[in-house]
């Protein structure tokens, strides 16, 4: 007998002010640029200042979001920690390579190398918490977070664990931004938050963030939602997307029109948003369509922001106007589908139901 999988708590640090769980996009951070950094919480409340000094940004953001998620779930420890990250603490990797090249492989120190290890966030949370349980890090571009969710769901449904801390984290790094501008994966010209999704230009605006959640097979007071099902596909041709989504939804005993909304991964890249635009005028025409990457920026684990947002919508029953992509009325949504892809690859589907 498979167990249900619940989302019992959330924690987030992002380009928006998401670190306070009592708020839900009350004030919107506007920006104009090609990359945008996270709003810093008061790290001192979470990390001893001496330790914080040499800490990579990804570790710092994750200390805050993971502690917030643990606190809200009322837990001191968990059975497993699973983190998704496209590039890990890339800032430290970049600095280590730069130092190595500039100084002819001399005078290097270990901290940046250690923090370059992709699993450094999962490791440091385990260390802080004293968690000796299962510890995994997934690093597969824009399904890094979804791979983590998948693994957690597998363990919870099979009753191999009761509480799992699942997270998603990535950082903005200049070298990465500039080189990806060369190949037009990141926009050449700055664009504003309000315009990015309709920019009509190639590439994305790069963002960063850390999102953590406690998933459990026990429902409790704090529970937000239930994770009904997931799909991960490394590639789908454009004409397979619609049918794959329909099939996924229907195998869960519902039809597209039973969904209260779909959260789409539009990121303002002229070349690759067409997939969402086509779905928006066909498969999803009659249901509410929501978007978020104008608020979060695009990065490998930006879908963690969508997961955070879906759960906030369930809890508050509210859908801020800035998230709406079409004009279909959305009222107290109970069932949301999340669909994401990046540059036509690594498609993911997540089906959530309000608790």
């Amino acid at each position: 007998m498979k167990k249900e999988v619940y989302i019992n708590s959330i924690g987030s640090v992002s380009v928006q002010k998401t670190f306070n769980n009592s708020e839900f996009l009350n004030e919107i951070v506007d920006y104009e640029g090609i990359s945008v950094k996270a709003v810093d919480p008061n790290y001192k409340e979470y990390i001893p200042p001496a330790a914080a000094r040499r800490m990579a940004k990804g570790i710092k953001m994750s200390a805050v979001s993971s502690q917030n998620a643990m606190k809200e779930a009322g837990l001191e420890n968990v059975d497993a920690i699973i983190v998704g990250t496209g590039l890990g603490c890339l800032g430290d990797s970049e600095k280590f390579v730069r130092d190595l090249l500039d100084n002819d492989e001399q005078y290097l120190t270990p901290t940046k190398f250690i923090q370059s290890s992709h699993n450094t966030v999962a490791g440091s949370i385990a260390l802080d918490m004293g968690c000796k349980g299962y510890n995994f890090t997934y690093v597969h571009s824009n399904i890094s977070f979804e791979s983590s969710l998948w693994d957690a769901k597998l363990q919870l449904a099979n009753n191999e664990a009761e509480n799992i801390l699942v997270g998603a984290v990535d950082e903005v790094v200049d070298h990465h931004v500039i080189t990806h501008q060369f190949i037009e994966h990141i926009k050449k010209e700055p664009v504003s938050m309000r315009d990015v999704l309709n920019s009509g230009t190639k590439g994305i605006v790069f963002g960063e963030g850390s999102h953590f959640f406690v998933l459990s097979n026990k429902r409790q007071q704090s529970t937000y939602s239930k994770l009904l099902d997931m799909g991960i596909y490394n590639t789908l041709s454009n004409d397979e997307v619609s049918e794959t989504i329909r099939h996924f939804v229907e195998k869960n005993g519902v039809s597209i029109k039973d969904l209260d909304g779909v959260i789409l991964g539009n990121n303002g890249d002229l070349e690759h948003d067409t997939i969402y635009h086509e779905l928006g005028t066909s498969l999803f025409l009659e249901i509410p369509q929501l978007v978020y990457k104008h608020l979060s920026g695009e990065y490998d684990t930006a879908s963690g922001f969508a997961f955070w947002m879906a759960n906030k919508i369930f809890k508050t029953g509210k859908v801020p106007e800035i998230l709406r992509w079409n004009n279909v009325q959305i009222d107290r949504p109970k069932r949301l589908l999340l669909y994401n892809q990046y540059r036509g690859k690594n498609h993911s589907l997540v089906l959530l139901e309000k608790c």
Binding site: I81, G86, L87, S93, F96, V97, R98, L100, L101, E105, L108, T109, P110, F113, I114, S116, S117, H118, N119, T120, A122, G123, S124, A126, L127, G130, C131, K132, G133, Y134, N135, F136, T137, Y138, V139, H140, S141, I143, S144, S147, D151, L154, A157, N158, H175, T179, H180, F182, I183, H185, I232, Y233, N234, T235, L236, E240, T244, D300, K345, N346
Partner: protein, 399 residues
């Protein structure tokens, strides 16, 4: 409940061979792959020894029919190994069943990223590698090379236990019916990044590594790719497939002690081994051979040795580390050693722990130093990494 997951194919490339058969031949003839560094230009070339795959990128590209400088070394090695594994498993139509690919890597495309770090600003000659830094990109390149589309493809990076965790996840996915078959393992190429990183940690040996020896001086870095094919019982019986061995047990735990070092008494390692034995449903006494992590760093071998003593008490099975053959292949270590474990079971043989002379002062543990023939039904393989990651796999002859 304790049903094993069938292994039907294996493929690898390492410093001691371009395929599984060559690796085995080197293992039983005591031929090491460790030498002075040849392919990478580094100021540390006289202070360290490594285990490089002899083929250059150009050689690999020729074998694969690719143009020059198409891919980073990580996917090049990976494609070679995956193709061999698919051949052995007799898989022709990759999309015939729900097939997944789970790979472990630590560096991804770092070899190209460090090489062209500043060149990217000068010209567009190497821009094809910019997106290759993503660890996941190397896995996707492997998926493309074998025509795997519309499928579950992911990448794990838990430092030196990555491939163990890829094998573990694959086995769990097959067991729970989420996939019918899955390609699991890892690929990692050598880079200046890792050579210098390990150098700053002061755990590189300037000579041949000597696991579990009192006078061990550290590890030799290596590079490799190693993949196994796991298939469901249904496919195995329907196609009457030859099963090479089974993934019977797996355990993952965190040492929660230090970002890079292992705890003095190997708490994480003990937990990983105990979990794996529990999943396998066997007592420690049933283990015929331990393929140890045995990196030859002062810290690992002490911690792992103590952990083995805690789990196996006064009945320690024969054990050895194969790192003196292959070097420490980082993310792939557990993939390389999974294949060696299966070969041990198939051939009833225990590999020598080369270069061992003096037992460690802290305990009375002596690895096998000669090739030994013995009926092998069960092998336990350890892999530990940065971030406190500890993983154990158990392989058996019977399901």
């Amino acid at each position: 409940m304790n049903q094993g997951v069938a292994i039907t194919g294996m493929g690898m490339i390492s410093a001691i061979g371009n395929n599984v058969a060559e690796n085995y031949a080197s293992l039983i003839s005591g031929k090491t792959g460790i030498s002075k560094i040849r392919h990478i230009r580094t100021v540390h070339e006289n202070e360290t020894m490594v285990a490089e795959v002899p083929m250059t990128n150009g050689d690999l590209e020729t074998v694969l029919g690719l143009g020059p400088d198409t891919l980073s070394r990580t996917p090049l090695l990976g494609i070679i190994a995956v193709k061999e594994a698919l051949d052995q498993a007799g898989i022709k139509d990759i999309l015939a069943y729900r097939t997944g690919l789970i790979s472990g890597t630590t560096v991804g495309g770092m070899d190209k990223a460090e090489q062209y770090f500043y060149d990217y600003y000068e010209s567009d000659a190497h821009w094809n590698h910019i997106n290759g830094l993503h660890a996941g990109d190397s896995t996707q390149k492997i998926a493309e090379a074998i025509g795997l589309s519309k499928s579950f493809v992911t990448t794990i990076s838990t430092a030196c236990s990555s491939a163990a965790n890829a094998i573990m996840l694959g086995a769990r996915m097959i067991k729970s019916g989420e996939l019918d078959r899955v390609i699991v393992g890892g690929s990692d190429s050598l880079s200046k990044f890792t050579i210098n990183g390990f150098k700053t940690l002061m755990i590189l040996s300037d000579t041949y590594n000597t696991p579990f020896d009192e006078n061990r001086k550290g590890l030799n870095l290596g590079e490799a790719a190693a993949f196994l094919i796991l298939e469901s019982d249904e496919i195995v019986s329907k196609q009457n497939k030859k099963v090479l061995a089974y993934v019977k047990g797996y355990g993952n735990a965190n040492d929660a002690f230090h970002q890079t070092a292992s705890s003095e008494h190997g708490d994480g390692a003990v937990l990983a081994m105990e979990k794996a034995l529990k999943v396998a449903g066997i007592p420690p006494s049933q283990v015929d051979y331990i393929n140890a992590h045995g990196t030859a760093t002062p810290n690992n071998d002490l911690s792992e040795g103590r952990a083995i003593l805690r789990v196996f008490k006064d009945k320690i099975p024969e054990f050895s580390s194969t790192k003196p053959f292959t070097g420490h292949t980082l993310a792939v270590a557990a993939g390389v050693e999974a294949i060696y474990s299966v070969l041990s079971i198939q051939n009833n043989v225990i590999y020598p722990n080369l270069n061992f002379k003096t037992p460690m002062s802290e305990f009375n543990l002596v690895p096998e130093t000669q090739l030994k023939n013995k009926e092998i039904n069960t092998v336990l393989s350890n892999s530990f990494g940065f971030g406190g990651n500890c993983s154990t796999l158990i392989f058996t002859k019977e399901g």
